[in-house]
């Protein structure tokens, strides 16, 4: 019954999406068309119905209703509750339902909240959102129905891939999907603005918080996914350039570029065409990622749905939406008037460099990800890994980080490097000192060396934009920028330090043996069998001591699951502020010794702390934007015409200051 309600709600949502598209189409052509009035309610109701449908799916997983095929295939009555629930989206059909639910929710939210744009642009935006949604509704309802019944009802389910039975998985895909699909809003706004010839700073201001929201979720999702791979796969690595990881990185790169170019458009009315293009590209990358993961054309841990029919369906959708958007872009781009001009040495100029570098890295990751698929068409099988991705993307990452350090110090429109001579000297000296010191006192290869030096430079530079400001009156958006940039430095330092200084020991140990690794001593106390709800394991009881300090416990396990059968390695992590000890237990050798693999990974946790700081910076900026927008609305309601207070401070602050201050005389 519940499953049928879910399915009915989904069909109704699809019908509402059609209504929304029709209403949006007429509303965008003619502001007075009466169908227009249907659009917003249709979007909101669609969101509600999709959420109901998704909750129905969670419910059938909660009660383990084995007459539903998806539950029978992916769940098991003995599974812990948390994994029963997460089982709802840890499979193809469920994750597509999550996708469309997020998409409908985002559409419903903009329909409900957003009143700033001209009505025609808004109608075109919501129409586009519905148009994209319809394709995915069709895909779910025709090719991947999550509520399909099964007869006869099996005695028990097949269970869930053991690798996915982890708290990380309960949290990771929904976060990532909110990010992925949240970018559909940017896509719809961009096309709406393009179709109604409405590419204005106002459009960028309206779009920016939505992009920022999606970007925050993407950032957290990528960081969480990286940490999950780190501790669950038991290989000690935190980024494998796996196609599935790349699929989440590419939308993030595009969204990061879009955030920065939208800032230029909002503040200075420049980069109009480029911002529209990025809005299209960002969500296109989300769809490409979904295609790569969902079509089963890649074989990796994540690609467990292998079904060519579905693959071609998604490919057709991809061609329709990306191709269609690019055609509209090509036809309309020439109608976008040239934006405000700026000098190369200006904030805008620096942001253009940032955008070009991010786009270049995006292209490099995209080519590297697709290359194995292209060569396979010619029957040549290759894999592309770190030897390609690391150095090639570093070529663009290094200049981007240098500009990241200096760019925020520049003024809008026109500036000179001579004005910011002293901060630049401080940054350059910091980079050089660290570079030389690290090269002299530590042996490391070129990329970690550059990474540590740049981390120092960016770290110092990240808070320089606060120089000379009253900290209490600094807009939250500026604080957000500083914190996010500082997060980049922290994360970069973690990556470089881990790559340069990690130590690894691989031994076969007897019970009672002590293994030295870096500053650590690890003792294998005993090996004992343990059991969980749906697994058994051999557990190594180990004690660890850092530089002869107090003993700490940690119990790596080799787990065997029986429903479905599978094995995972549960690592033990001993976390200190300056890094992690990582221990995994393997198999018993013939002579009774146990294989142990230990890593000392200095500062590795900083990678994820940095990621969280980046996300936190986004949250602070988002709060700042929303609050100042609310204030502006209140002021308008009182009848006071008020410009964007944050934009004045953020964009023209420097100019206001220079007009008020003695520096004016110079320019």
């Amino acid at each position: 019954m519940i499953a049928e309600i879910g399915l009915a709600a989904l069909w109704l949502s699809a019908a509402l999406a059609v209504l929304q598209l029709v209403g949006g189409f007429f509303g965008a052509r003619d502001e007075t068309n009466e169908l227009r009035a249907l659009v917003r309610p249709a979007a909101v109701l669609q969101a509600v119905l999709c959420v109901i449908s998704f909750l129905c799916l969670v419910w059938v997983f909660y009660v383990t209703d084995l007459s539903v095929k998806l539950v029978a295939n992916n769940s098991h009555s003995m599974k812990p509750l948390a994994f029963k629930l997460s089982g709802a989206w840890a499979n193809h059909e469920g994750s597509m339902l999550l996708w469309i639910t997020v998409m409908a929710a985002a559409g419903g939210l903009i329909a409900f909240i957003e009143r700033r744009l001209p009505e025609r642009a808004m109608m075109a935006t919501l129409g586009t959102q519905a148009f994209v949604g319809i394709g995915f509704y069709l895909f779910i309802l025709l090719a991947s129905n999550p509520f399909e019944r099964l007869s006869p009802v099996p005695a028990d389910g097949n269970g869930l891939n053991p690798l996915l039975q982890d708290m990380g998985v309960s949290f990771h895909p929904p976060t990532l999907y909110i990010g992925y699909v949240g970018l559909s809003v940017a896509f719809s706004f961009a096309l709406g603005a393009l179709l109604t010839r409405n590419v204005t700073p106002e459009f960028a201001r309206v779009m920016r918080p939505w992009v920022l929201g999606a970007w925050i979720f993407l950032t957290i999702g990528i960081a969480a996914g990286s940490y999950w791979a780190y501790y669950e796969l038991g290989w000690g690595g935190w980024w494998f350039w796996d196609p599935v990881e790349n699929a989440s990185l590419m939308p993030w790169l595009a969204a990061t570029a879009l955030l920065h170019s939208a800032s230029v458009l909002a503040a200075r009315d420049a980069l109009r065409t480029w911002t529209i293009m990025l809005g299209v590209v960002a969500f296109s990358m989300s769809m490409v990622g979904t295609f790569l993961v969902r079509s089963g054309i890649l074989t990796s841990v994540h690609a467990f749905a292998v079904d060519p029919e579905r693959g071609s369906f998604i490919l057709a959708l991809l061609a329709l939406y990306i191709g269609g958007a690019l055609v509209v872009f090509a036809m309309r781009a020439s109608t976008i008037a040239e934006g405000q001009r700026f000098s190369i040495t200006s904030r805008e100029g620096a942001l253009v460099v940032n955008n070009v570098a991010l786009s270049a890295i995006l292209g490099i990751v995209l080519l590297g990800t697709l290359y194995p698929l292209l060569t396979e068409a010619f029957d040549v099988r290759v894999s592309v890994g770190p030897p390609y991705f690391n150095p090639v993307s570093a070529i663009f990452l290094v200049p981007m980080l240098l500009v990241l350090a200096v760019g925020p110090l520049l003024r809008w429109r026109r500036d000179s490097l001579a004005r910011i001579k002293w901060p630049v000297i401080v940054i350059v000296v910091a980079i050089l000192v660290v570079l030389i010191a690290a090269a002299l006192f530590a042996e490391m290869s070129i990329l970690p060396l550059l990474g540590i030096a740049l981390a120092a430079g960016v770290g110092i530079a990240s808070f320089m934009p606060l120089r000379g400001r009253s900290l209490r009156r600094t807009p939250l958006a500026i604080w957000g920028m500083c914190i996010a940039h500082f997060g980049v430095a922290v994360s970069l330092f973690g990556m470089a330090a881990d790559s340069a200084f990690q130590q690894e020991r691989l031994v076969a140990a007897n019970v009672g043996d002590t293994i030295e690794i870096g500053p650590w001593e690890a003792t294998l106390q005993s090996i004992s069998p343990v059991a969980g709800p749906n697994w058994t394991a051999m557990q190594a009881d180990m004690f660890y001591s850092y530089e002869g300090g107090p003993l700490m416990e940690g119990h790596p396990q080799a787990r065997s699951f029986w429903a479905p059968p599978g094995e995972t390695s549960e690592v033990a992590l001993i976390t200190r502020w300056n890094g992690q000890l990582y221990a995994a237990v393997g198999n018993m050798a013939e002579d009774g010794r146990w294989q142990l693999r230990l890593w000392w990974k200095p500062f590795v946790t900083w990678i994820w702390y940095g990621g969280l700081l980046i996300a936190l910076g986004g949250v602070i900026a988002l709060v700042g934007r929303v609050v100042s927008d609310l204030r502006r609305r209140e002021a308008e309601a009182r009848g006071e015409a008020r410009p964007y207070p944050d934009e004045v401070e953020y964009a023209d602050y420097d100019e206001v200051r220079s007009i008020a201050g003695p520096e004016e005389a110079k320019s």
Partner: protein, 153 residues
């Protein structure tokens, strides 16, 4: 940099520089891909056309029956990967995946050494019943069975 260029020209310069950088990125990526992509070999390919020593490749095939040997250190394994046409000795130091067993498919990442042994840095074995390394999909069950049967003799 803020020279005597007119703003219009500055904009043009910026667009051209951006285009050049992006095209450069594409060219660089294409060049690097040709050199850095690691090619997939089955033992027959290695016999027919041996890769350079030290070049990163991936080797796929079936682990021959009775070929897995653990060295005295307890962590280094030696085994032989075959595809029915040729055999390649492999050595790997590390914790082997749990589904790495004799007579089953495996893909090893690593490089050949001067002695003609493949030194694996990573082993990818079948994760479960539904998972097959993509490169092994081309190998039919018959080929796999042949490989297994041969090694039983």
């Amino acid at each position: 940099m803020s020279t005597g260029l007119k703003p219009k020209h500055q904009r043009l310069v910026l667009v051209i520089v951006a285009l050049v950088v992006l095209l450069g990125a594409g060219a660089l990526a294409a060049y690097a891909l040709r050199n850095q992509a690691s090619y997939f070999y089955v033992p027959a390919d290695i016999a027919a056309n041996p890769p350079e020593v030290g070049q990163d490749i991936r080797l796929g095939g079936m682990v021959e029956m009775g070929s897995i040997n653990t060295a005295d250190d307890g962590v280094t394994v030696h085994f032989v990967v075959g595809d029915g046409a040729a055999r390649v000795p492999v050595t790997y130091a590390g914790i082997v995946p749990d589904l790495f067993v004799e007579g089953s498919g495996v893909v090893a990442e690593g490089a050949m050494n001067a002695e003609g042994t493949f030194v694996a840095s990573n082993l990818l074995a079948k994760h479960d019943e539904n998972y097959m390394p993509r490169e092994l999909e081309g190998m039919t069950m018959e080929e796999a069975r042949e490989t297994v049967a041969e090694t039983y003799e």
